[in-house]
Each structure stands twice: as structure tokens, then as C-alpha cells.
């Protein structure tokens, strides 16, 4: 199962108004490390579906949000809680390292 996508149009309702903590994976087709980390995020999402939502946002198709959040490096994985960014993780990392970065949301 792969994580679902959000867009400029659905960001407000799906991310900013989310009741659960939600992580947005800012990615692009041409970014090798994004493709590498994608299946790892799918697994983390699957294993923690009750605690943390994980969604993808394509920065080429949704440049306004990438600019709004000051993205200059991808993959950029931002955790939102109550409409605010509460955690930023940048760069592809192995699963145990990502889980350590996200520990407070997976506990």
C-alpha cells in the first residue's frame, strides 16, 4: 500500500485540519533519494497507521506549498500538528534513523 498524495487544493483540509499528527513528504520524480526513501515511508506509515499519517506532496505539481514552507532540499519530511510544522526531517535516511527522528510521534 502506498501513501496517498495531497495537493495545493487539498492541503488545508487534509493536512492543516488533520486531527492526527501528519507527515508531508515533499518529493519530486527527478529526485533519486526521494524515490529511495519512498518505500521506507510507506512501511513506517503502515506500521504506525494509528499514530501518524504520512502523505506525499509533489513539489513540481504544487510549487506554491513548497515555496510557502521554504523547501530547498528534498526529500523534506515535515510533521504537522494542529496546522503547525512541529518537526522537520531532511534527506533520505535508513528506516531505523527515520524512526528515531520521528520517535515522539510513533510512541
Amino acid at each position: 500500500m502506498s501513501t496517498r498524495s495531497v495537493t495545493d487544493a487539498t492541503f488545508q483540509s487534509e493536512v492543516l485540519e488533520s486531527e492526527k499528527p501528519i507527515m508531508v513528504d515533499f518529493w519530486a520524480e527527478w529526485c533519486g533519494p526521494c524515490r529511495a526513501v519512498s518505500p521506507i515511508l510507506d512501511r513506517i506509515a503502515e506500521e504506525n497507521s494509528e499514530k501518524l499519517d504520512i502523505v506525499k506532496l509533489n513539489v513540481d505539481e504544487n510549487p506554491e506549498l513548497a515555496m510557502k514552507y521554504g523547501i530547498t532540499s528534498i526529500p523534506a519530511m515535515y510533521v504537522f500538528k494542529g496546522g503547525e510544522v512541529v518537526k522537520r526531517v531532511i534527506g533520505a535516511k535508513p528506516k531505523p534513523m527515520l524512526e528515531a527522528d520521528l520517535a515522539e510521534f510513533l510512541a
Partner: protein, 319 residues
Amino acid sequence: MRQLIIIGSGPAGYTAAIYAARANLAPLLIASSVDFGGELMKTTEVENFPGFPEGIMGPDLMTRMQQQAERFGTEIVYDDVVKLELAGDVKRVHLGDGTVEEALAVIYATGSAYRKLGLEDETRLSGYGVSWCATCDGAFFKQKRIAVVGGGDSALEEATFLTRFADEVILVHRRDSLRASAAMQERAFADPKITFLWNKEVAHIYGDSTVTGVGLVDTVDGTESTLDLAGLFIAIGADPRTHLVHGQLDFAPEGTIAVQGRSSRTSLPGVFAAGDVVDPTYKQAATAAGSGVVAALDAEHYLADLAAGAPQHAAELAV
């Protein structure tokens, strides 16, 4: 137990796998969970790998190598090696998920990792304007003014690539000439968007939440200057990724793994090294591939001798 485990999935690892698999050694290749495919996964057009007269995209080249290795029976695992036990007759490879793989021989081909400038603010601003990957991050600097630090092929390739997005790309180099190949130099010199700052070293990176500029020091007369920038791409070379074998293998003075003569034989019997981890000088995809061939053939001979009951002596190193 396996015959052979190959650690690394760049040109050295995959080429070793192609040869070892064709020799019916059914190798297991540990590719890494996120860095699989190695450095070429982060490059665009590769124009100097023989057999591709029109050039080939780095990730495509690595996918082809992977498929060629798999075609002959290489098994690939996408996990990271966390610990190696290389001293005994049986080599143990501990993986990130807790499993331990065992083999009679190991080829170590983990390549190299980007060098950092070593500045205080470099890590803090990494991902916020400081980058080591133009192909990953270049598109976020549309119509911006950015700099590339370095003077080799990778620095010029990054600078040339970044002109697709940025208005102005400044190449900062601490000498007054470039190490890069003539072809790369000609292309960069002819590019109206690229300017050169010679004999300058980056001493500071400025910016609260994102990069706003750098402080430079002249390497000849010591004068200081500043440069307003939106991004800084660092391409100052790479160091061999050898932390897993420190204390287990002998090293050359350059920091690469010591090997016997032109072979891939390390200081431990049954342990072979290939690619950037043994090469302080050339570090090309094609030389790494050749180095992988050497390691596979050395491992094949070692395993054949082992099967025939020949005594194994520790390699004597002349470093």
C-alpha cells in the same frame, strides 16, 4: 552459508556481482537501504562510461548494472551493514534489520562519502540552502544567485547543471586553476551564467533559517569578503567510507584500504576491497567497475583454493 557477500551497490559492487554470479558463486549483494546505486544515482548525464556514445543518465546506468547482476543470479538486499566480523574463516555481516549473513569471502565496495567544509553552520543549514546534491535541490533555486565550492569534475558538473535554474552560479575555488577535465572546463568557461572566484575559501556560512550568504577568505593575501547567496552547493571531493572496517583491515597512508599490489586482497584472507575504498586517485565509474572485476576474480580464486584445501596465508602487505 554463502560463498560470497558483496557490500556496496555502485559500479564496483555491481560489476563484482556480475563476474561472481557468472562464476556460479550466487553472491549476496548488500545494496544499502537508501544509498543504493551509489554516487551515480545523484548525477545526471554520464558521458564517459564506455559503451554509451550518446551518454546515459546516472540512475539509468546503475539500474542496468543492477539488472545485469541479477540476470546471473545475484541476490540483492536493500539494507545497511551495521557491523562486520571479518577475521575468522567465516565472515559475518550484521544488517540493520538484525539478521546476520555468513560467507566464506567478502568484497567490500562501499565507495566514498561527500566531504564537508567543516564549518560550524554547515550542518545547521544543511537542507536549508546548503546542499551536496545539485540534481536533488537545484530546482529550488530558480532565478536565484548561488555558489558552488570546488574545482573538480563534480563541481563543474554541478555548476553547469545549476544554470538550468539559477540566474547566476559562482564557482568558488581555493586555487587559481581547476582539476576538472578539459571538456568540463570548456563547457563551464563558455557558460555566461557561470562566473569564477579564484583563490577563495569559504570561511563562514550566514543565515538564520536559510542561507543568505558566505564569508570568503583569499588564500593568497588573506583578505576577507562576503557574498550574498541563496544557496551553497559543496563539491569538494569525497572520503572513502571505511568506518565499518576500522581496526580490522590495514590502511594505506592516503586513508584508503591497503591492498596487495594490483590485487584486491586486503590484510585479511577472504576479504577483498574494490572501488573508491581502495582508490585515492582516479575514482571514476569505469575504474571502479574494473576494480570490481579484480575483486570478483580474486575472490573466485580464493574460494577455489579453499575448496581444494590449499592452506590460506594472511596476505603480506607492502604498503
